[in-house]
Symmetry: C2
Subunit: 479 residues, 2 copies
């Protein structure tokens, strides 16, 4: 037997150092690799396959609402970026600039898109003439660049993959409706597919997107109690339309400005999956998003009939629509188990000579490590069943964790105590003043995550300043 590398190397425990645990997992689960381009990463096959599944699922949900895909240039001329004032102020400090094409300096420098509102506006200004041209429901899958100072794989990198939807509507009502509709598409996707529960709400003015009238967000809670903004949906009103001159003739042939939205989700979702579900053995993928849902590990695979049986079971499971592989490499079973746990494969199926004699296999869940003995003829049905149960229970577990780490703070004392005693979301009342938001952030590092759609009246006064409260907010320290 060939020499074996040592068993999957131990990773840092998440309770000891969550940040190091995260870095260990993304490396050891072979999701990413670093490159000589600082702040940019290679997304390796195991990572990219997750992104492909995210794309497939989200894209189908977008298209079901009438969205069409397009592709716009990756470059934005400096003058075009500057058309909308708030927008350029928000993005100009963090874009990469192309100054030379080939051997010659450019007449006007181009930024690599940090987001494509300006390009979509330029297109819509040319393309939209009449109310018959509306709504325009475009989306693109691409990469964008933001020159961040500190970066972390998936969570914050100088280049990342995302989708950006950009729509134009005849009325303010339709634009608002689409903004909320896409937020709901995002929230449902996270809960149903990624098994991540989210809080839906609106960003405060301080936290909204550069150039937006309103930004809506879904906020998720990571295992370490930090919040993660998992997706945003913006209503631009007619601000961009006025800046770019996007007008249509209405039914009475009068010129009107369109109302626009944009909404985006990124590869940071992979970071969310890791930080919501992972444990000290590595990644834990919800079955619906897992590129490989089950791996068959033949035990004593050199014995006659063992590998044959494994491939036979693999074919059965495949026929039942399960994404399954057989690991027939010459590593030891123990090594394979550890490796698959690190990679987050939802289910492992062990089957050796003794099992074959008895006509059964052992099915082991990644999340609970629960073992079930299943006879061959029921294997496909039972594995499908276990995957369904896992999907549901992983969402329940994540929801329970979030509930346990959500504190109601009615006083500033309660607020400050909760931050360290029970890191997570803090629900608190707010006076509505930006100064108070800024002060809270400066004093505690906690930011306002959102004004949730489900408002409660926890008290009559702002948790920080004691003035009359206007809104309930979710607060948290965030990625």
């Amino acid at each position: 037997m060939a020499k074996e590398k040592k068993m999957v190397e131990a990773i840092t425990s998440m309770d000891v150092d969550f940040a190091q645990w995260y870095t260990d997992v993304v490396k050891k689960a072979e999701l990413i690799d670093y490159t000589s381009v600082k702040g940019c990463m290679v997304i390796k096959p195991a990572g990219y396959a997750i992104w492909e599944n995210i794309q497939k699922e989200l894209d189908a949900r977008f298209k079901a609402t009438g969205v069409e895909n397009v592709y716009l240039p990756m470059f934005i001329p400096e003058s075009l970026l500057q058309v909308e004032k708030d927008h350029v102020e928000g993005f100009a400090p963090e874009v990469a600039w192309v100054t030379h094409g080939g051997l010659e300096p450019l007449q006007e420098r181009l930024c690599v898109r940090p987001t494509s509102e300006t390009l979509f506006c330029e297109l819509y200004a040319k393309d939209i003439r009449s109310h018959r041209d509306l709504p325009r429901l475009y989306n693109q899958w691409c990469s964008v660049v933001r020159w961040e100072k500190t970066t972390r794989p998936f969570l914050r990198s100088r280049e990342f993959l995302w989708q950006e939807g950009h729509t134009a509507h005849a009325t303010a009502e339709e634009a608002e409706e689409r903004t909320i509709q896409m937020l709901n598409v995002y929230a449902d996707f996270l809960e149903e597919v990624l098994a991540i529960p989210v809080v839906k709400g609106r960003k405060t003015d301080k936290e909204k997107f550069a150039g937006a009238e309103a930004t809506y967000t879904i906020e998720a809670l990571m295992h370490d109690g930090k919040a993660l903004q998992a997706g945003t949906s913006h209503n631009f009103g007619d601000g961009f339309a006025k800046a770019f001159g996007i007008q249509y003739a209405d039914k009475d042939n009068k010129l009107q400005y369109v109302h626009q939205t944009s909404w985006g989700m990124t590869t940071r979702l992979i970071g969310a999956i890791i930080m919501v579900h992972g444990d000290d053995n590595g990644l834990k993928l919800p079955p619906r998003i897992a590129p490989v849902q089950a791996v068959i590990v033949p035990i004593m695979q050199k014995k006659e009939g063992v590998l044959e049986k494994a491939y036979e079971l693999e074919a059965d499971l495949k026929a039942a629509g399960i994404r399954v592989k057989t690991d027939a490499t010459d590593k030891s079973p123990g090594f394979k188990f550890a490796e698959q746990e690190m990679r987050g494969i939802p289910v492992r199926i062990e089957c050796g000579p003794k099992d074959i004699e008895k006509g059964q296999a052992i099915v082991v869940r990644r999340d609970t490590r629960e073992k079930t003995i299943v006879c061959f003829e029921n294997l496909a049905t039972e594995v499908a069943n276990i995957l369904d149960i896992m999907q549901t229970e992983m969402l329940e577990t994540a929801r329970a964790h979030r509930e346990a780490h959500t504190t109601v703070a009615r006083t500033w004392d309660e607020f400050v105590t909760a931050l360290d005693a029970n890191p997570g979301f803090i629900k608190g009342m707010w006076c509505g003043e930006k100064e108070c938001e800024v002060a809270i952030k400066e004093e505690t590092g906690a930011t306002t995550r959102c004004m949730p759609f489900e408002q409660e009246c926890l008290s009559e006064t702002c948790v920080h300043c004691g003035k009359p409260a206007k809104k309930m907010l979710y607060f948290g320290r965030a990625y």
Copy 2:
């Protein structure tokens, strides 16, 4: 009834001005739009949907051969681009340079990838240790930038979409095998899905990829008799491996250099579809690649029951797996017909009150304009059948066109005469000297397309210089 825009505007006839015809079609079929970034385009929904189908089909074929998808950064540090000498010489003159990140100048400038050999090499140098790590079969779907001076939609633009496969193998034989395998995947895809016949062959040393040992190509002939390189597959030997230090320990624990390949296809394929199949009424999409395969046009759609019937038929066809839409807009039927022809929809289905009385619809083929009356109960089967026949016949038509525009030239006179008398491929013998290739190009504008795998001996002497012939070549003026 609302005012109607004038009928689909006439386009330039392809016989009058093929270049203008091409530009008219890409605009009027709404495949692309221009932007304020010179040489970059917007790929609009009708164009992007074709690309999505190309991706889906090709990606499945890649994965069936064991290929995995990854994503590498869009930036390459200047020093990394320079590691392989021939490669940097080939690409440096046409790359875009990022010199500033945010408000600060970069310490080292970065080019926007024109292709990613250097980044894959950097990854492989870190990742590959042992013969067990081989082969590595990676691919990525992304955009690349080449700062071209003259650009044309899809055919040559400063940014374009593509896939680039990069593989690493233990032996030279395996690398060569993979190079040819992927060329065959490309050729089969073009013939089976895009209905475009291709010549498979090897590029001369003059025409090969910068840094490659051998470049293989598939060459297609456009309607105007010009050649288009539709896809290439490169064998790098161990040149890049030596430049980047990509070594593995073989079974005897000796260090060996890997052997590499790369292969790519781009959005230029959409240009090929247009120029092989299109006519003076616009685009003509082969059914297997058409995003919409059939459109139902209700006639006198305001009459009771007409629209209902149209949607009923739509549901039947959808259930049979046909990509079908109903055009229920308030445009006239004539306008709809012209618009769908312009967009290249393979089949149109007309159905009005009289047809409904008779229980039938009229099916019209885009390519031949042939009309068939089909009773409702057979409609789905018959449309599927017609789409299959169209797919086959469009390939046959394209093949016949290519055969009719391929000339055997045994003398230089025959060569020069054929160029104008029958623009297309010219088959001719070649002495093997680069000087002769250069001279032919300078004198005629024709380039060597490839040394086809199917060699023939047309004569004993080079068609240009009369020296002893070594190879048969395909020549042609090219896009």
